[in-house]
Amino acid sequence: MSLPGSNVGNLRNVRTSLSLLGLLYASVLLAGLLAPYDPTEQNRDMPFAPPSRLHFAEPRGTFRLRPFVYRVVSKPGSFGEYAEERGTTYPMRFLVRGAPYRIAGILSCTRHLFGFDEPAKVFLFGSDEYGRDVFSRLLYGGQISLVAGLLAASLALGLGTILGGLAGFYGGWADEICMRVAELFLALPWLYLLLAVRATLPLHIDPVQAFLFLVVVIGMVGWARPARLIRGIVLSGKLREHVLAARAFGASDSYLLRRHVLPQAAGVVFAQLAVLIPQYILAEVTLSFFGLGVGEPVPSWGNMLAAAQRYDVLTSYWWMFLPGIALSPVFLLYYTLANALHQQTARLTS
């Protein structure tokens, strides 16, 4: 046990959240292996099927270590009402052959970690309106959302740090130019600009291009606010006594910025990162509305959440919110990480 905020506790926090985040990113990267189905496969007779129940005990009471499921069929004449057929059991099998997929876009593979014999379907997190497996979609969707959010936030913060740092440190015309451009970016009516951008692009953009485009658009839109924050910190930081002293000893500008001024902004940068990543994951929904994001049937957490924002889904199909629930540990981990890193750097710079 260590006191919160102490050095050991902090390092442990950094390590735990980093390893958990690493695990998350790894599982998303290995989505093909972990997901039992192709994320775009429609089961049209099973819309809005609730999460499948994994059984361990047979009706007669025998306990089985290997989980099994019953086949689920929709009740005749109903919509979204299902019943288990208790006749046959379908045990879980490991490393089964299934829909082909690629890992990281390179390794081609057909083995899935687990699966069940047809015609049983297992929807660990239920199915959506087309009968697609929400669990598989969640894993695949993370590939886009987690990475796009991180990259876009890094891009925005990177640009913001560089431009804000330069503006704050040098002042004068550099400051004028950077800050006026930032104001321009803040004042632009993005809605119309995005519409115009959409009009100039070809109708269909393939998912990789769409992904890069997402990152660039979100990053470009977002840099102005952090830049202003960082400029303020640099502006006050460069007048601190230890900075002035270093300058008096003949330190170069780049050394001063690197060693003394920008580290003071680290806290703000990390706090911004923790705020911006979730924001940018959601920004993708807005972009999808303009036909700029990832379109159906490719899953992303953004478009999965958008599909849940309907009255009937809200009231009837709770499992459609799983992407939203999945987001909260992600945000929490980022927040913990940012917090710990902030304290770490604060300790180092103080």
């Binding site: 070809p202 109708l203 009255y311 009937d312």
Partner: protein
């Protein structure tokens, strides 16, 4: 003309929630009378396909009763004993009692209360309750019936109509009404400077309708050429109060008058309700018109309701919740998902839901068949070599799982379609149009005959070895359409086609469809305000602005489009109803054979109302729920207080 065409197409394209925005009648006919309708209704009832809220037989009796009422009127023009000078129209509906307020959800604020210039559907929905027309289309029977005109005669060549007006009527401010008001109204609508959207509809054979006063209570209308059942033109053409507007008209200030800021005393109409107050951002309230010209059989004057309040609720979900909690009394145009949620709680709540069966809306997929500049859009014009092949379009049609769309997108509350007249249009549908089920087999055969083949991995390639790949656009914000596109995408994947779904904001989409023609395929919906073929002229004439796959052609691009043009023009001037039906049947056959539109489904009209509301008789024609607002009443006493 152009402006209007564009605006109309916008209104019509905007989705099921905007589509109903019909701003004026479209001339049409149902002249052949009861026999055809009765036969069709009987047929429907026998086959058990009628999905009415009421048994088909009851509807039949009702139509007969209404017709009888109408005939009785034309013959005797009975007057109410209480108001001997006033020729009131006697309603045959259930006798109710006066009092209470009806609260209706409105998805946006109206822009104006001016019936002359209003183009948006929201304004027109409010205005509709404050105006009256000379001849009215009964939304339930889909036939014309007397309104301000108690009777009319038609000359044998079908070009002259003489309308006899009711005597002793008054506007909602108490000022008397006569032929001069009618003359003034038509002068205003036909004046090009006023730019009324109604003007287009009052032009027959290229010439404005001639209007002449016969006497104080009779007006004569002359058409340049015979026009099928021209009395439908008069529906929803509001008669204006000359005493209030003539001065403004001569000063050229008509366009700005009757905005939302106008004092209630300066607005008058002949409708069941009159403007009372407007609370920006919240509601608009109409109050009972004490001079309304309809009464019930017990001698009471209609309307029964004291007030009608439109409250502005933007989101559909919020509208549904207000309806569920009883804050709104009527829910119009529910989508299937909301309907199913409301239906679950129907037992415990005080509302009733109605599934009226298929309406007049239909949705479809179509390919870009415009004459494209191959330099500007090389990719699309290359792909047009597929799109132009009838067998390619037929193959796509055969591969689409319409049943899945009905089940997944509409929860079973829609009807699969193979032709452009939906089953909601009972009088005009051609029932001999083939309805082949889904068959990938047939689709593959059709593609093979058209020179397509498959690569070993299943990809479909054309004769030159190019993989078949295209994108389907649809408007963002219409969940049903993007869901349909997603299902089609998956269906066509099984034929080896690589299809992408792209959603665009509505304006951007319309710009591509009618302006730049930069798209490949599109999922969209249309819906007429009237069931008559003339309401669809703009869609099927090759010169029409809503001829979506290739709009506003100077010359018909294909022989079958030329034939449709001829048929549509001929039915326009054919007076015999059965002959018109034959012509329109042929149009439906041509469309089904050549599949310029690949029809998907026709959604059911879903509405709901508080169970204490009397005389609530929703109809598949719009306005689905408020068309008989003057007859609605509360079975139990309710307070008239503003919410």
């Amino acid at each position: 003309m152009m402006r209007q065409v564009v605006e109309r197409s916008i209104l019509r394209l905007a989705g099921t929630h905007v589509v109903h925005g019909r701003w004026g009648p479209t001339p049409s006919a149902f002249g052949s009378g009861l026999s055809l309708a009765a036969a069709r209704l009987a047929a429907l009832a026998c086959r058990g396909r009628g999905r009415f809220s009421r048994p088909a037989g009851a509807r039949l009796r009702l139509s007969a009763a209404l017709l009888a009422a109408v005939l009785a009127w034309a013959a005797s023009a009975r007057t109410s004993s209480a108001q001997s000078a006033e020729e009131l129209l006697v309603s045959r509906a259930e006798i109710g009692h006066q009092g209470g307020q009806l609260v209706v959800n409105q998805r946006a604020e109206p822009k104006t209360l001016n019936p002359i210039t209003a183009v948006d559907s929201v304004s027109r929905e409010v205005i509709r309750c404050t105006i009256a027309d000379l001849i009215h289309i009964n939304r339930d029977t889909q036939r014309t019936e007397p309104a301000l005109a108690k009777a009319w005669t038609v000359s044998s060549d079908g070009r002259r109509y003489v309308l006899t007006l009711r005597r002793g009527l008054r506007f909602s401010d108490g000022h008397p009404f006569d032929a001069d008001d009618v003359l003034f109204s038509f002068r205003v609508y036909l004046d090009e400077k006023v730019r009324s959207p109604q003007r287009d509809l009052l032009i027959v054979g290229g010439q404005p309708i001639g209007v002449r006063k016969v006497d104080q209570y009779a007006v004569q209308f002359d058409l340049a050429e015979p026009y099928a059942a021209a009395e439908r033109i008069f529906d929803s053409v509001a008669i204006l109060p000359r005493h209030l507007l003539e001065q403004l008209y001569t000063e050229g200030r008509l366009a700005e008058t009757w905005g939302l800021g106008t004092a209630a005393a300066q607005i008058a109409g002949l409708g069941p309700f009159r403007f009372k107050e407007y609370v920006p951002g919240d509601r608009i309230v109409l109050e009972r018109n004490p001079y309304y010209w309809k009464g019930d059989r017990a001698g009471n004057r209609l309307p029964y309701l004291d007030r009608l309040a439109f409250q502005f609720v933007a989101s559909e979900d919020a509208q549904a919740m207000r309806f569920q909690t009883g804050e709104a009394d009527i829910a119009s145009r529910l989508n299937a998902e909301t309907f199913s949620v409301l239906a679950k709680a129907e037992q415990t709540r005080s509302y009733k839901l109605f599934d009226l069966g298929p309406g007049l809306d239909y949705s479809f997929l179509f390919f870009n068949l415009n004459d494209l500049d191959s330099k500007a859009l090389p990719e699309t014009s290359r792909k047009q070599s597929w799109f132009r092949q009838v067998s390619f379009r037929q193959a796509v049609s055969a591969a689409i799982d319409r049943e899945a769309i009905v089940r997944l997108v509409y929860r079973g509350r829609a009807t699969p379609l193979w032709g452009h007249v939906p089953p909601g249009n009972k009088l005009w549908i051609n029932r001999s149009i083939a309805q082949p089920g889904r068959s990938l087999e047939r689709a593959r055969r059709l593609l093979q005959t058209a020179g397509f083949s498959w690569k070993p991995d299943g990809t479909l390639v054309d004769g030159r070895g190019n993989a078949v790949e295209f994108s389907i656009v649809t408007n963002a914000g219409n969940g049903e359409r993007s869901q349909m596109a997603t299902i089609i995408q998956d269906d066509l994947k099984q034929l080896g086609m690589s299809v992408h779904v792209v959603t665009l904001e509505l304006r951007a989409l319309l710009d591509r469809l009618t302006g730049t023609h930069d798209y490949e395929a599109c999922v969209l919906g249309l819906g007429g305000g009237d069931a008559d073929p003339n309401a669809e002229l703009n869609v099927w004439l090759s010169s029409g602005g809503t001829h979506l796959w290739n709009p506003e052609q100077a010359q018909p691009a294909t022989p079958w489009e030329a034939e449709i043009d001829t048929l549509m023009r001929r039915q326009l001037t054919t007076l015999s109803n059965s002959a018109r039906k034959r012509l329109y049947d042929r149009v439906q056959e041509l469309v089904a054979q050549n599949v310029p539109f690949i029809f998907l489904v026709s959604p059911n009209v879903l509405v709901g109302a508080h169970s204490g509301l009397g005389n609530f008789r929703p109809a598949v024609l719009d306005h689905h729920t408020l068309w008989d607002v003057e007859e609605l009443f509360w079975r139990e006493k309710r307070s008239s207080a503003t919410p």
